[in-house]
Each structure stands twice: as C-alpha cells, then as structure tokens.
C-alpha cells in the first residue's frame, strides 16, 4: 500500500520510497523533513477536492503537508496495534 491510500488516523511505517519518481529538490526536502525509509507516519488531514489533495501527515511531532503524488511514491506498512488504538480513540 502507498501512503496516499492510508486512512486518516492510521499509523504506518514507510518501508520504501521511490525516490527516482520524485523531483530531485522535492526528494531532498522530504528527506530533510525526516520523511524517508523507516519513518513512522500518520495521515492527520486531507484536502477536499481532487482526490482529497493535499495530505497533512504527522512525522514525530511535526505536521507536514504534501501532495498525493509524493505520498504515492511511498510504500507503507500499517502498524496494526496503533491503528486499533486510533480507532478506539
């Protein structure tokens, strides 16, 4: 599954990023923000139109806005336990 398909509130870990599919500067910026392999992320908000673009994700204690195209380049695996906790909340 890629990050753009993650439901709001679901926590996941980035397992692979298709860096080559991103513009070089954007890839560099994402890395600088800590969005790379191994990072634990959560989708916190989404836009309203056009496939609910953009997407706000939480990484650590930061919230970062990015587009669906960036999220689509990131393979994630859902962290089950936390996902269930999120549902309880």
């Amino acid at each position: 599954m890629t990050l753009d398909h993650l439901a709001i509130g679901q926590r996941a870990r980035i397992v692979a990023v298709y860096w080559s599919s991103l513009v070089a500067e954007e890839a560099q910026r994402l890395r600088a923000l800590g969005i790379e392999e191994g990072a634990s992320v959560k989708v916190s908000n989404r836009g309203i139109f056009g496939g609910r673009d953009p997407i706000a994700i939480t990484v650590g204690r930061m919230t970062i806005a990015l587009r669906r195209v960036h999220a689509a380049a990131m393979q994630v695996e859902v962290l089950q336990v936390e996902a269930m906790q999120a549902e309880v909340q």
Partner: protein, 614 residues
C-alpha cells in the same frame, strides 16, 4: 570602541527564532537585503552582561546546510563564512524547538560540526510541557558538548542566561570529537539524543491536532478561511475610519496653520496645495494599512498562514501553482513588493515566475486609498442584508476581481510562457501559538515605517513635481490653471488614448504620477482639484470626494476603479520584479499585459455601466 561581537541565530523554520531575536534586540532592528539576493537580512544590537556590544543577525530558517531554496543558501553560506561581504559570525546560536527535538537536532548537528563557538537555545519549553513533554537540558548539554540554555522567547525567559552563554562561548575546533556524519546517521543520532533528553512523556492529545481537526476540516476549514478574509476586508474599511478622520483633521489643522503663518503667494500655495494636500491625502491611509498588516502578521505568527496555504493548495494547483504561492499572494494584498520578495520560498522557478507575474493583481494597500475615496464618493453608504455594508461589498468585489484575474492569468501563463512540469507542495505546518503582542507591534512598526518613508520620499517628490507641473506656466487671466499647465498639456495627449474607456482629462492626469505609486493618484486628484479651485473658498472647502462627485459620473468612477484593479501603476514593483527575475524581459512583459488588461476591463466596465443606465 571595540567592534561588536557578531552573533548569528540559526535554526529550523518555526523554531521561534524571530521571537527570540525580537526579545533580545527589541525594536532596534535593521532590515535590509543580502547583497545580490533578495533574502531579507535582519540585524539588531544588544549588550551582553559583560558590557560587550553584540550585533546579532537572524538568519533565514533552514532544514539543512545543503540548500533547497535561496533562503537556505544564504544561511548555509553565512554560517560557513562564505557569503561575500558578510562578516563571519563569531558565535552561532542554534535555536531548537523543544517539542520537536528529533527533527531540529539533525540540523543542529550539522551546525555543531562546523566547529564554531556555539550555544543552543532550547526554545518553546512551555509548549513542549503543554504537550506533555518534560525535557532535561543538562542531559542534552552532555550529549552535544556545548551550552544548552532553556528559553521561552515569547515570555522573555532564559534570555539573561543565553546572553551569559554567548559571552562565554568557548572556542571549538572543526569536527572536534566527531566525524562527519551522513544525513541518515545524523537523523539516527538525533533520535537517540532526543529520546535521551526526555524525562517523561505523557501521550496527550495535542492541542494543535485538535485545532487542525476543525481548521483543516474539508468543509469548515475553507468556510473559516473565507469568513476570516471577509472580516479582514470589512475591518480594513470600517475600523480605520475614525483614525483616518483624525489624521485628516490633523493635516487640515497643520495646513491652516501654515496658511495663516505665510504670506499669500507661490510658497504658501506650494506648502498648502502641494505638500499638505498631496502627502496628507496619502498619510491618512496609514490606519488601513496598519490594520491589514496586523491581520497578516497575526496569521503568520499564530501558525494559521501555513494552514491557509494547505487549504488553498488544491485551488492553486488548479491553475498550475501550489499552496506556497498563497502566502506571497496574500502578502501582496498589503504590498506587491514584500509579496514578490516572499516568492523566494517557492523552489520551482516557473512557479515562482508565475507568482511574481500575478502578484501585482492582488489588491495592494496602495490601491486602497484610490478605492476608498472613490467608493466613499460614489457608492451610497447603506446596508444590504444583515450588517453587510454596500461600500464594503463593492470593495470586496474589487478584491475578488483581482483574485479571479490573477487565477485566469496564472492558468494562461502556465500553459504558455511559463509552461513546465506541475509543481509540488511540501510544507511544514507549525504548531499553533498565541503571538506575542510585542512581536506583532515590532512587525507593524516596521511595515508602517516603510510606508511612511515612502510617503516622505517618493510620494513627496512626485507630489512636488506634479505641483510644479500643474502650477507652471501660470495661467493668464480667465484661464484655468490646470488647462494652462505643463501637466494639463501632457494629460491632453494621454486623454485621447483613455477617452474610449470613459476617462476625462483629470483622470488621465492622475495616471501620470500614479506610475510612481498608485496612492499618488488620490493625492494628484486632490492637488489637481485644489489648484483648480484656486482661491474659491467654497470649492476649497469641499472634501475631495464631494468634489469628485461634481466632476465625474458613476460609470467614469467605476471605470477608474476597474483600471486600478489591473494597472501596473507602481514603479517600485517593476523594479523589484526586475531584480527578482534578473532582467528586464519579465518586468516589461508584466507592464504590457497589465496595462492591456486594465484598458480592456476599464472599457468593459464603462460601457456596461452606460448600457445599464447607471
């Protein structure tokens, strides 16, 4: 006197650097540009406990020394002493957001590896505690090997200790005790250090996540944003009135005093009709500009501005831009100059160029004086529906016209002259924060001062030149002074061109000096009608608006408003665009397309109004 010690503030964006800078230096700040680039250089002075003076610069926020924007490039070069003409900082102060250590320590390690005397300001500890995070600065100090001072810049906490640490920052050596790490290694180390410094962490629903649930809600979010924008425009028009009236009365008193003190003649005319009528009529718009900037600064400092960018991103993407363009464009509502300068945060060059080209379509505060005078004179002051004033509504419409124009132009440009790959949008949404009043006041003062300085220099000069053009050659007996003057003759030529769009000679005349700054259109109308009224005391006593009403029809007034929605009447904007695009090609293109649009839309407005029988 010894040379002041040079201290530079560095850190990630949103670490609270500017608040710390304001707390340390107070209002004694100098704002300029770094030579060759248009990145703002902020510096200020303060005195260390040792009595030693310090010159502090607030470097642009960066995520890394490996730059991805012109801003980050300045920071990267200055801290390494590679920026030509910029002194190498003696001490670096790294500002960290206590609640976001894991991220901010990555950049901090890069700075520490430079081996310069460094002090860490562990900032916004209060917000971290609000989020249930308790940290031990001493543990962090051990890990990093430099002084770590806990600060809460907005409450002026920890500033004395920070100053002491700056005074006694020991010498360090490059790469001391650590090898050059890769970005990933730094991230791993940052994670370990951040975890190590945490004494306790309560998983608490963070306040900003809860606010975001409302303000970034797909439905409530945009609704709130548009309501806020509407309130801003109503406020700019309504709240400023008493202050503007007071300023206007003040100008009249001064003008009368000068008039009484001086013998009749050219000098008196120059001072009352030229100086006071001209500069005075622009200065009275200071309250509106201050109110507009107050809202913009509040949105920036509270963290809402980035949310606005998030909400607007999809819409901007529709015309080939990104949410990042929203902030420069919103700033352009105050003035296109800071707006165009703010485009440097847009990484994509085509995106940036498009934003620069459409920035002048955002209704800047300099248009307000023009709009305000004409709306007040021609649009009746009544309400349409609950609490919505017709005058405010017309003003809102003018703003919307500019926005729609800009969007259409962006769309056209993105598929023609600035064609290129769709741009991205990656942006940190900072924590919400209650802005400190002092910080807002410093920002407001800086903006107001820039406006007043413009009024005192460019606008003053233009007004004087215009008065001279209007007053010479002197009219013969029985001839109107305006008709006889140089300016009147110049306007006669221009009037032929603008006649098809409903402009009379006086309007054509106002367009000439308005090239220097739009708001001068008002002062030039004021000067024209003041000169024209001559010594006819009854005509003199009429306010400018009332005088306009006797000279213009409603379609003419509407046409004039439509002209100002589009017309590129500000040489400073063109100059800034030239500097930002490194050449004359784009500013000239901007001039041409904007004048074209202005002419077409003023014409459409005029003839539609005539057809509707207005």
């Amino acid at each position: 006197m010894s040379k002041p010690r040079k201290v530079a503030l560095v850190g990630n964006p949103n670490a609270g650097k500017s608040a710390l800078f304001n707390s340390l230096t107070g209002a004694r700040q100098k704002i300029a540009n770094y030579p060759g680039v248009t990145v703002e250089r902020k510096s200020g002075r303060f005195v260390l406990p040792t009595g030693e003076p310090v010159e502090m610069t607030d470097l642009p926020g960066s995520y890394s020394l490996d730059p991805t924007s012109p801003d980050e490039e300045v920071t990267s070069k200055v801290v390494r002493g590679l920026f030509p003409g910029e002194a190498v900082p003696d001490v670096l102060v790294v500002v960290l957001d206590a609640s976001n250590l894991e991220q901010h320590l990555v950049f901090a390690q890069e700075i520490l590896a430079l081996g310069k005397p460094t002090v860490i300001a562990l900032n916004m500890l209060d917000l971290a505690e609000r989020d249930g995070l308790v940290l031990d600065p001493a543990l962090l100090e051990q890990e990093l090997g430099v002084a770590v001072v806990p600060t809460v810049a907005v409450r002026r906490k920890g500033l004395d200790r920070l100053a002491e640490a700056i005074a006694s920052a020991p010498r360090r050596e490059a790469g001391a005790g650590q090898t050059q790490l890769t970005a990933t290694e730094r991230r791993v180390a940052a994670h370990a250090m951040a975890q190590g410094a945490i004494l306790s962490e309560t998983p608490r629903h963070r306040l900003h996540a809860r606010i975001d649930r409302l303000l970034l809600d797909p439905w409530l979010g945009p609704l709130f944003l548009f309501a806020l924008l509407f309130v801003i425009f109503q406020a700019v028009f309504a709240w400023a009135t008493p202050f503007a009236d007071a300023l206007e009365a003040g100008v009249v008193v001064l003008s009368d005093m000068a008039s009484a003190a001086l013998p009749p003649g050219l000098l008196r005319d120059f001072i009352t009709q030229g100086m006071f009528a001209g500069v005075g009529s622009v200065v009275v718009f200071l309250p509106q500009i201050v109110i507009l900037f107050a809202f913009i600064l509040f949105m920036e400092a509270s963290g809402y501005m980035a949310r606005a960018a998030f909400l607007m991103d999809r819409m901007m993407a529709g015309v080939g831009l990104s949410g990042r363009s929203f902030i420069p464009l919103l700033s352009s509502f105050a003035c296109a100059i800071p707006g165009i300068m703010a485009t440097r945060s847009i990484a994509d060059p085509k995106d940036r160029l498009t934003t620069i080209l459409i920035a002048p379509l955002m209704t800047c505060s300099a248009r307000l004086p023009v709009y305000a005078v004409i709306i007040a004179a021609f649009i009746p002051s009544r309400t349409v529906g609950a609490g919505i004033g017709l005058q405010g509504l017309v003003l809102f419409t003018l703003y919307v016209a500019g926005i729609i124009g800009a969007m259409v132009v962006a769309l056209v440009l993105r598929s023609s002259v600035t064609k290129g790959a769709a741009s991205g949008f990656i942006m940190e949404l900072p924590k919400y924060q209650m802005p400190r009043l002092g910080d807002l006041l410093i920002g407001l003062w800086q903006r107001a001062w820039i406006f007043l300085r413009r009024a005192g220099t460019i606008i003053f000069m233009v007004t004087v030149i215009l008065w001279l053009l209007l007053s010479f050659p002197r009219a013969a007996e029985g001839e109107s002074q305006v008709d006889a003057s140089f300016a009147g003759k110049m306007a006669n030529g221009l009037a032929v061109v603008v006649e098809p769009i409903g402009f009379n000679r006086d309007m054509a005349l106002a367009l000439i000096p308005a090239m220097a700054a739009r708001e001068v259109a008002v002062s030039s109308l004021a000067t024209t009608y003041a000169v024209d009224a001559g010594n006819d005391e009854q005509a003199q006593a009429l306010a400018l608006g009332d005088r306009l009403k006797t000279q213009w029809t409603l379609p003419m007034a509407l046409s004039f408003l439509a002209w100002f929605v589009f017309a590129p009447q500000c040489l400073s904007t063109i100059a800034v665009a030239r500097r930002e695009t490194n050449g004359w090609k784009w500013p000239l293109f901007m001039l041409a397309y904007l004048f074209g649009l202005a002419y077409i839309f003023a014409g459409i407005t005029y003839w539609s109004a005539i057809a509707l029988g207005l």
